[in-house]
Amino acid sequence: MKALGDIDSGRPNLGGNMPVFVYRLFELSVADILEKNFGKDKTDEIIRSAGFQSGIEYAKNYLDLTLSFNDFVELIQKQLVEHKIGILRVEYVNLEKGEIILTVYEDLDCSGLPVYDETVCVYDEGFLSGILQTYTGKPFKVREIDCWATGDRACRFVAKTV
């Protein structure tokens, strides 16, 4: 996380926040260029991997990995709201089967986008996968089944141990 720099001292006047559209401008333009160069599948893979790495770093630096699962989920909810990433809600958990269903409302990546008829939150898929793997020590495959971009009000993710 050191690579992110000392934002407080670097931006004493502007601070650590910026509008969501700027974030999306960067993310979507990068995705667009990647897709033009490598195609849709490869682009998804790259962005999902970036999200995964980001999830691991986020879990290590902003979450308490020693908490019980329920307390850990409560902390993720709190942190994601505080960092304005989204409103995480848990719909279903079966740790024995290694299956979790989560929703993210007001998602940073997609809420408010036009309907594309396909899910777009591949970065989130990787991000959640990175967090869950860091906490449980087991690899998790996370896939988005509903998305704002498919006309839904929330992004719904199914996470399963691989």
Binding site: N70, I87, V90, E91, Y105
Partner: protein, 423 residues
């Protein structure tokens, strides 16, 4: 050339229009379309074909939405989400998702995990988060009380009941908690014991409720377990909108028994087991202070010293015990019979005048006479007595009143002696 401009006129038959109109009508009123679909009208116009296609899709979405909303309304949260392109169901899917989340949260709470919060769900969030706050506060209060009780329990046996102030419902029973904690699998208490226990707990509630007091301290005997408790009762906050009576019960059975034993020993004559001089003085003084009528009778055994000297102390003791036996047989249990000296006794009779006292003394005399007829002892049993009835204008001091009765006894004894001499 066909006119392809946006303003071009197209030919549609009346039959086609009527059919499409019926489809729309049924869609609007959510009526089944099956009969219309079973006997379709062939639509030739391509524009109208698109309209028909979209009406049928909308019909499928509406049917799906209707079934989905009914399942949610019936609490079936396992129902599958509608198909991805059914945009009509967006709001309902959000509600479904929120209910699933709420259900998961409530399950966490029911498993004792109060570290739960719901954000951004309007009134549901407010209510849920308030409930959690209340539960945490109540839990902390109970934990605090349990900690206090556990600490006190190391030194004494303590119990606690908590009753809802309004309904009287028993909210907490420390004994039950301890019993569950210590005797997992132990046999449950029988119905009679449980009923007596409930009666006891209800009695604590009723006292506070009926007397409308916020705190009290009292000793009470519990029949269901034969114990004495010192009870501290207090009205205090239980939850944000509920107040409750807290009854903390300290088991004082051992102390009670010890005190009773001590009181018994202090008030009894060691040799005979009847009340002693100290008890007699205290009781007479107590009666004087209440100003209620009572009468005392001073009794002196005749010839006890002679019996000791001539026949031995063994006969002297038998003389004493036999006389006590006769007096006890001649009186009821309401009176106090005390040994106030070696051969001196006093009877204290509440609510009795001098006439009745004389009748009782005569009854004792008659029973003594009957005994003397048996010739069981090598001497006659006899006694002298003096009766003094309480007069509030005269008697203020117990010892003085007892002395006056003693003096009357002495006059009688001296008369007997003179008569004896004459004989």
């Amino acid at each position: 050339m066909p006119d392809r401009s946006e303003d071009a006129m197209v030919l549609i038959s009346k039959k086609e229009l009527v059919y499409i109109s019926k489809l729309v009508e049924n869609l609007k009123t959510a009526k089944p379309m099956d009969y219309l679909l079973a006997d379709p009208v062939e639509i030739k116009n391509s524009y109208l074909q698109d309209v028909q296609k979209n009406i049928l899709i909308l019909n499928e979405y509406t049917k799906e939405l209707s079934a989905y909303s009914l399942a949610i309304a019936h609490g079936d949260l396992d129902v599958e989400f509608p198909t991805k392109h059914n945009y009509l169901s967006g709001g309902l899917k959000e509600l479904h998702s929120n209910l699933l989340h709420l259900s998961w949260k409530v399950n966490q709470v029911s498993e004792g995990n109060f570290n739960q919060k719901i954000d951004f769900m309007g009134q549901i969030s407010d209510s849920f988060n308030n409930m959690i706050r209340g539960l945490i506060e109540r839990d902390a209060r109970i934990e605090e009380l349990i900690l206090i009780i556990d600490v006190i329990n190391q030194y004494t046996n303590i119990n606690m009941y908590v009753h809802d102030q309004e309904s009287g419902q028993l909210l907490y029973d420390e004994e039950e908690r301890k019993s569950k904690k210590d005797n997992k699998g132990a046999a449950p208490e029988d119905e009679n014991t449980l009923a007596l226990k409930k009666e006891f707990a209800d009695m604590l509630y009723k006292k506070m409720k009926e007397e409308d007091i916020s705190s009290s301290e009292w000793d009470v005997f519990s029949e269901y377990n034969d114990k004495w408790y010192h009870v501290y009762s207090l009205l205090s906050k239980w939850t944000d909108d509920k107040r409750a009576y807290f009854h903390i019960l300290v088991d004082i059975s051992n102390q009670k028994m010890l005190i009773e034993n001590l009181e018994f020993q202090v008030s009894r004559d060691q040799m005979t087991g009847i009340y002693n001089h100290k008890f007699a003085v205290n009781t007479v003084q107590k009666f004087i202070s209440t100003q209620n009528p009572f009468t005392i009778c001073f009794i002196d055994l005749d010839g006890l010293k002679t019996a000791n000297d001539v026949h031995g102390h063994q006969w002297g003791d038998k003389y004493l015990l036999k006389f006590i036996e006769i007096v006890n047989a001649s009186t009821r249990n309401k009176e106090y019979f005390c040994r106030v000296g070696g051969d001196e006794f006093i009877l204290i009779f509440p609510e009795v005048g001098p006439g009745d006292m004389l009748n009782i003394v005569n009854r004792i005399s008659d029973n003594v006479a009957v005994f003397n007829q048996t010739h069981e002892f090598p001497f006659k049993v006899s006694f002298s007595f003096g009766i003094e009835a309480f007069d509030k204008n005269i008697h203020t001091d117990a010892k003085a009143m007892m002395t006056m009765a003693d003096n009357k006894m002495y006059i009688l004894k001296r008369g007997k002696y003179i008569n004896f001499k004459k004989i």
